[in-house]
Amino acid sequence: MKVDILIIGAGPAGMAAALAAAPSGARIALLDDNPAVGGQIWRDGPQAHLPPQVHEQRRRLAAQSTIQLLTASRVIAQAGPKQLLVEDAACARVIEYDKLILCTGARELLLPFPGWTLPGVTGAGGLQALIKGGLPVAGERLVIAGSGPLLLASAATAQANGARVLQIAEQASWAAVAGFAAQLPRWPHKLLQALGLWHPGYRASSHVIAALGDSHLQAVRLSINGQVKEVPCERLACGFGLIANTQLGQALGCRIEHNSIAVDNWQASSQVDIYAAGECTGFGGSEKALVEGAIAGHAAVGDLAAARHLWPQRQRWQGFARALQHSFALGEPVKQLATPDTLICRCEDIALADLREHGGWTPAKLASRCGMGACQGRICGAATQVLFGWQPPAPRPPFSPARIDTLLQLGQPE
């Protein structure tokens, strides 16, 4: 399969990039590992309620005969120059491209704490995604903890689907949260969003201490502004902010700066013909992603005037991104939640006590098996970076678990 423009990630950035590039007549493939377009924020499903704007975007995408949607498809390896090996549920193929736009988004930072492996405990954005996909939560008691605006968004989704949100514990201080809120009038749309999401159980300077239960979550121990409190509940959703998904960019040789894919004014990465847009270039929400995606799409087809026209808009949302990152910086307490017997590596069940003696990621991995499981250190690598300052290793193919059948296509003549 050969396309002019291959876009990885069909969230706001990827959708905007495809729509911006489409008028040029270029053949475009828009790929995402989820079953539908929309990314994390506009994830569809039986319990999702998408804003009208999203339906409009999806309608416009579907109307473009030059845009091919490849959902439930994952990039597994670089097959050759300007070629990616892609797998879906049924088959695998090599896609050749002229220009590549990485809109790989972000994932949640999931930090270990006692009990975090119990069924009933999920990520915060994770719970939101699971609910949209049909996870029943009606009547369940829910505690949300961690950091960032996603906690409120997750609470809103859970409440809309019948859960009772008992408490939201934000690790940042009231001063930080208030400082962030005070800046919101600069982005009135965001202020309205925040007001709509406000919850009376929201507490700053608060964090999870432990998830309690034998085989399933039964209660959560929290530190609420210094006071320890136990809250019986069926569900705990914990997310400590976002991490840009830079692995694919890094594997393709793009320069990484501040844990994000470095881009110039045209959203071009350090690698020729590879662009990046949205959360993978630094998180800042869907508005930033939309405008960056559009700039990348225009630039990739050579419409520099249209791209330049969007620069002021991007600047505005990048300001919001800076405010966001500054206000919800992680404090020390949440970096020290794990106890010696807390599992850090969930794939191989490796506890904190088995890691501490080692001087870095590689010796710890070799000696303990931490990071050797199916997630390939995506979760524990991010956690040990926060806990110990260990640098996770560079990504290698296969970038995700893949059928061996898929890998057989590597080095195979077309």
Binding site: A374, A402, I404, L408, G411, Q412
Partner: protein, 369 residues
Amino acid sequence: MSQSADIIIIGAGIIGAACAHELARRGLRVLVLDAGRRAATAAGMGHLIVLDDNPAELALSQYSLQRWRDWGRDMPADCAYRQNGTLWLAANAEEMAVAEAKYQVLREQGLDCQLLGAAALQAAEPELSQTLHGALKVGGDGILYAPNAARWLLQHAQIELRMARVVEIDHRRVRLDDGAWLSAEVLILANGVYARELCPELPLQAKKGHLLITDRYPGRVNHTLVELGYVTSAHNASGPSVAANIQPRPTGQLLIGASRQFDSEAPEVEPWMLGKMLRRAVDYMPGLAGLNAIRAWTGLRAASPDGLPLLGEHPQRPGLWLAVGHEGLGVTTAPGSADLLVAQLFGETAPLAPDAYLPQRFLGVAAHA
């Protein structure tokens, strides 16, 4: 400059660790220096296998296998030692004849082995391709997890392990990258492919290999499965080659090899080579295609021109002892390599005739003789 130990070993991989273990057992104070670079012990398959390309290789691997079986009784669980046996797979009548010849050679040495016809092979390993003609089973072969086996060998009061990179060897002393000099009566060079940096005259060539491991699928494979093409054709070519090698790890994962390249020392996984290697493995075990792979990596084997290690004192550099050039057999032959080296050091009769492994065969006679 301080004399910090009786012996300094450069390299804490399986070879350096086995040497340190044997020396410490004899009461010597051993300082092991390791640069923490990516190296063969961490990259390899941990396959303990008797190879018989020549009598010296057979003698060294057979002797070492017995030592591993002895150690296996004491090794902690995280060394993942298992005596699961190797099945040498014959894809056709010609390879079955090779299996029979190999059987004769190994039986003469008193090794536990057995020829399996096609039906017996299917019964032993039902996941294998039904087109195979049979196999030779070598029962004493095994597997282990070499990084932890090396760590276990180094756990001794007489052994100090220090993370430091040696940048120069000068007579009986070494200079570290921080400028410090350390000295000892005896230096042992056991840092695999990196030995060339400290001893450029060593005839070592890097042979890059790829490996891939699957998610956990317990119970699918019992023995380590190796194609006989490994010894007949594929791997004897001078160009890039692959051979099917499928090893069941105690975790239930399958470790899949093997590839060989002479022209590349870059650490990157090369997609075309990974594809080629996996196509070969799937030829032998079709069901592999439906399993999930979770990780691939590469390593470098340090090979000598005749495929045998260099074990003994450097003929022109008194005090510098060599334990390098093990190619893909370092983990297998570590115990025998250590015993051969230490016996020479102590002027004792070695458990094996040491001549075939002496560095003199490449480096010439002793200048100080």
